[in-house]
Amino acid sequence: MAIRLFLPKGTTKGPAFLDKILRLRKTLYPLLIMASLYYAKIVLSPENMELTRVSEHALMPGLVTSRFDRPGLTMQLANDLKKLNGSKTQQKFVCDFFRELGVNCHEQKWSVDLPSEKLEGRNAYAWVRAPRATGVEAMLVAVRLGSSDSRIAALSHVLSFASYANEQVYWARDIVFVFVDGASKMEAIVGFDAFLSSYHLVKNPAVAADPLHEDGGFLIAATVYEMAPKQKDAKKCVLSAKLNGINGQQPNLDLFNSAVRIMNREHHSCDMQIYGISSNRGLRESSRWLLPIRALYTQAFVSDEGLHSVMGKYGLQGLTIGLAHSFNPTQAAQFMEAMARTLNNALERLHQSYFMYILGDDSHFSSIGFYIPIIILLIVPLLIKAYYEWTEMGGFELPPHVPVAHVFGAALFLWSRWCLENFKSRAALASIPNFPYFDFVDASRRTENVIFEFDMSLVITLVFIVPWGTFMRRMGKVSSDGAASLRMFIVLEAALVLGALSLLNFGLAFSVAVLAVPTFLLATKRSTQSSENLVRGLPLVLCHPLFLASVFLSVVRPLFYKNTKPFDVDTIPELTSQMLREHVLLGSHGFALFALFAVPLSNLCFTVATINCSGLVKADRKLSEEEMESKNVVAKTTE
């Protein structure tokens, strides 16, 4: 009979279940990742999702009877807008229309004056005042200006609704009508952002905008109207809803639910398209997984979905609704009236319902409580790895590589911003006469003594893609404890970043974690074989965040969107340029996350993957021999 000796106050070891986890860690890593994906499959299945409900009872969507009755005005406005032909701008037309109604209307000029970006536009805006209200609150209705048929249709619907709304006395809050100028979608988003920044008295350093001429109250919610995509069958009634904002922000679910309730009450046969996919499973031919996966994809990677995308920055709950082409003018305006009257009923800011959710279809959603275990299961291998390194190390040492990698990442981030703010798309290296120096200049500003001209986004991409971590390993000798600390730091930081990111932008966190977690586990694997380390370093080059993101987008995007560009070498600089542009113009955090966390961690992975080749192997071997010897001594004494 063996006798096990316990200390009077417990054992010197950690809890037994943690020891067991450490022993089984190599089995647990793939199991947990697979469990996460399997759990995602269950949770994201619309059958297992919760039913949507309007949590804020005061909204009472679809319970009012819409009374708009001016279809003639809509048709007249559409005709007048078509006939403009440059005789006057649409902004002037809109303002003249409002002034005839006795409503103040103004124009707001905005511009972006960066060397690489020259944009400008004129928004028009009008306040329909709620005559009997306190005026401390308002709701916003926005629409894009434009001369295409669908833009004119949306414009005429909004204008005729404004004329009707102006004559009603029941409004509890003002209605702000904004007519956004911008030739492309990105321009219009920047223009709308300019309006919102002026409204909230904040400055966007990249965009110059006129101050507003009217005092505005607290914006309770906003709806952007456009026409839904045209259907092959012209009689088919299809509305569309767009929800995703920059940085993964989504509007309060009550807003979307209200739109769906109104649609279902008034137009039973209509279908609501979400993320471009029909939400009616009976009508949908595609897979039931497509809608939730597309929800994750758009949340992660589509910052410029529509005008509503920038509302989240201002704490404004808003979505874009595409009105059905099959709607007649009365139906379209009555839908807008119903939405406005629903928001008119709100007593408080929209806060009762969910802000973090994944839609399965127009009547099913998964809330954060249900889907967050997906990312937790993905993060747990990293935490086990960190715990393992912690138990194996003799003492914690913070190697200099960690601060250096992060400071370097921050420097690259600032440098990239500086490049965008000071250079056009092409830069040049020019020699300075009489001096043995070179000058790094904008290609369009200098044509003399140019030695080499190159694309700016390519330069930025190359600077980011270089595996600086392999050079960082030469910064000094790293002890065994230092290497373990470095490994622990990498996986712990990755786990924390992914965890924090999942609370802001689950789609992005999930997409990154699926690829990053195996990469980190691979990169931080302990090994004593130099050849193994070298082999391990090679796939890390392919696992660079920029490369992974480009391939991911190229592979995944065609699954959702037709006519997408296949992956080629240009995709990577284009992605860098797009991230940087969205960061500077719209305030997207994607580029900051990439430069401040993804790139430093990637470089640290290079460092740690190659560090054993530089003399650490011997130290480790020596240490393991010493450990074996000490264990033998202990065994002998116990015998």
Binding site: P8, L201, D215, G216, E348, R349
Partner: protein, 534 residues
């Protein structure tokens, strides 16, 4: 006989008490008509007989040592296209301005809180949540009048006025169902675009003789047909009989003398203004105004100032209140801007800033009246000299407070109100008589709101933490040295076997899309088959 005696007594008494009523009607813009009622009752206080003057108001003034009392209630916004707002200027909601005869601030404080409750009972209001501030004698608030007296001023931005307020007011009038008060028809008055009601009580004494006056004013903006209006339809009631105790009962109608037609014509006070004496008005007679070609462009902008407040910033922690003042040049250059800052936002005096476009516009004086009480408000006053057509902006950076859970209103996510600023003119040009003040819009601050289910969460977290911590602590503290007796290997094998079987069964059920109901049905069918075999 008794009736005659009463009337006689009344006549004698009314020599000391007077009552005047007046109604001014004006077209503001196409389809918008403004009606302003004024009921003025005065009394020399030499005895305790109250026939016209409400005794209850006299008691109120007497008990709380009040020199002047102004209460206003307003619903709806006065649009700047409608020129000057009715005076005394009223913010949306309710405001109360009281001058106390006492110079003792503590006594005034005590009197004010009691007076608010008394006013609540008397006028059927709910002013208890007033944002109150003490007003310094250096610069006035709301009106030009300045007394060396203790003054208290408060605003409730959210208070709405309703028929109950009007009913209480009507009860205080000498004629409740005759004279111009027949037009005080609640269903019509409250179905309007703008509604403002004010009560002003003045008490002045010279040696031993005191005189009290009470003025009720009611301003309403109606939505009317574009081509004109009829007096009986405007108020949904017809003039029945004159108020026999009224000294005067006048109605004036302002109109465009070129395009408008007024039937019947009245006494022309000035061009475009007819006056009618309703003490001789025939019962059932009506007044009709036709405005077939009224153009909004014919309105002459004569408002002296435009003032508006905006709250900026996105943070939950801080923001900026911006008060913009544009001098339209009709009322003068010298204006006092007063802003009450409630306790739930904090202001640093050194961060306040005034910026004017014109270099010659300047700050003449500034007064900050801080209060020591934890929940009372700060008063910021700037005496500005603003050039004509110039705009000055007062920047007030704010810090939003995280309040105690009980300090939040039940609808905490609605936000809290910061009252609008008040612009008061000190030097009025000749064309505008009397005091003149304008209120800016109130602003809604979205304060950081705690998770109101926090106590529940705390209990859950603490209980879970205790449970998790207790288990290892208990285990480790109760360990002892013992022989390690190996358990039966067979039992372990059976246990693991059972688990594996369960796992296999679950997988089988999953891949065959079977569920517990199928299993139950299968078992019941099997048992049934066994029974049949018997």
């Amino acid at each position: 006989m008794i009736y005659l005696l009463l009337v006689l007594t009344f006549r004698i008494a009314s020599g000391l008490e007077t009552y005047n009523e007046r109604l001014d009607i004006k077209t503001l813009e196409k389809g918008r008509v403004h009606a302003k009622f004024t009921f003025l009752t005065s009394k020399d206080i030499i005895d305790n007989d109250f026939i016209l003057f409400p005794r209850v108001l006299d008691q109120l003034v007497e008990k709380y040592n009040v020199h002047r009392f102004v209460l206003t209630m307003q619903q709806g916004r006065w649009r700047r296209e409608w020129n000057e707002p009715p005076q005394p200027a009223s913010p949306i909601g309710a405001q109360l301005l009281v001058y106390f005869k006492t110079k003792n601030a503590t006594e005034a404080e005590k009197n004010f809180s009691s007076l608010v409750e008394a006013a609540n009972g008397l006028f059927c209001t709910s002013l208890s949540s007033l944002t109150v501030t003490a007003v310094s004698p250096e610069l006035p608030v709301l009106e030009k009048k300045s007394f060396e007296l203790t003054t208290r001023y408060g605003i409730v931005s959210k208070e709405t006025t309703c028929t109950e307020n009007l009913s209480q007011l009507r009860k205080l009038l000498p004629c409740k169902s005759s004279g111009l008060s027949v037009f005080l028809h609640p269903s019509k008055l409250y179905d309007s675009l703008f509604h403002s009601l004010s009560v002003s009580i003045n008490s002045s004494c010279e040696e031993i003789k005191c005189r009290r006056s009470i003025e009720f004013e009611l301003s309403v903006v109606f939505k009317t047909p574009a081509d004109g209006w009829l007096l009986s339809r405007l108020f949904d009631s017809q003039f029945s009989e004159k108020c026999s105790v009224a000294e005067s009962s006048k109605v004036t109608v302002s109109h465009d003398p070129i395009s408008d037609k007024v039937k019947p014509s009245g006494k022309e006070l000035e061009k475009g203004v007819y006056e009618y004496d309703f003490s001789v008005w025939t019962k059932g007679a009506d007044l009709e105004v036709e405005t077939p070609s009224f153009k909004n462009s014919s309105i002459v902008q004569s408002a002296g100032i435009r003032i508006w407040s905006t709250l900026g910033g996105l943070s939950q922690h801080s923001g900026e209140l911006r008060i913009s003042v544009k001098n339209l040049g009709k009322a003068g250059n010298n204006v006092v801007i007063s802003q009450i800052v409630p306790y739930f936002v904090r202001v640093h005096y050194n961060s306040l800033m005034v910026k004017c476009r014109s270099a010659s516009s300047r700050v003449r004086e500034k007064v900050f009246k801080a209060s020591k009480a934890p929940k009372s408000s700060l008063l910021i006053q700037y005496n500005l000299e603003i050039d004509e057509t110039d705009t000055c902006i007062l920047h007030i950076p704010l810090e939003k407070s995280l309040l105690r859970i009980n300090d939040y209103t039940p609808d905490a996510n609605h936000g809290m109100y910061i009252p609008g600023a008040i612009a008061t003119f000190l030097q009025i040009k000749n064309d505008l008589n009397g005091g003149y003040a304008v209120h800016s819009n109130a602003v809604l601050v979205a304060l950081p709101v705690p998770d109101f289910s926090m106590p529940f969460n705390v209990i859950c977290f603490v209980a879970t933490t205790l449970a998790v911590c207790f288990s290892p602590i208990h285990t480790f503290s109760t360990l002892w040295i013992s022989p390690d007796i190996p358990k039966s290997v067979m039992v372990k094998k059976i246990y693991r076997g059972c688990l594996l079987m369960l796992l296999a069964l679950s997988l089988y059920a999953h891949f065959n899309n079977s569920n517990l109901h199928d299993l139950r049905r299968f078992i019941s069918a099997y048992l049934q088959k066994l029974n049949e075999l018997k």
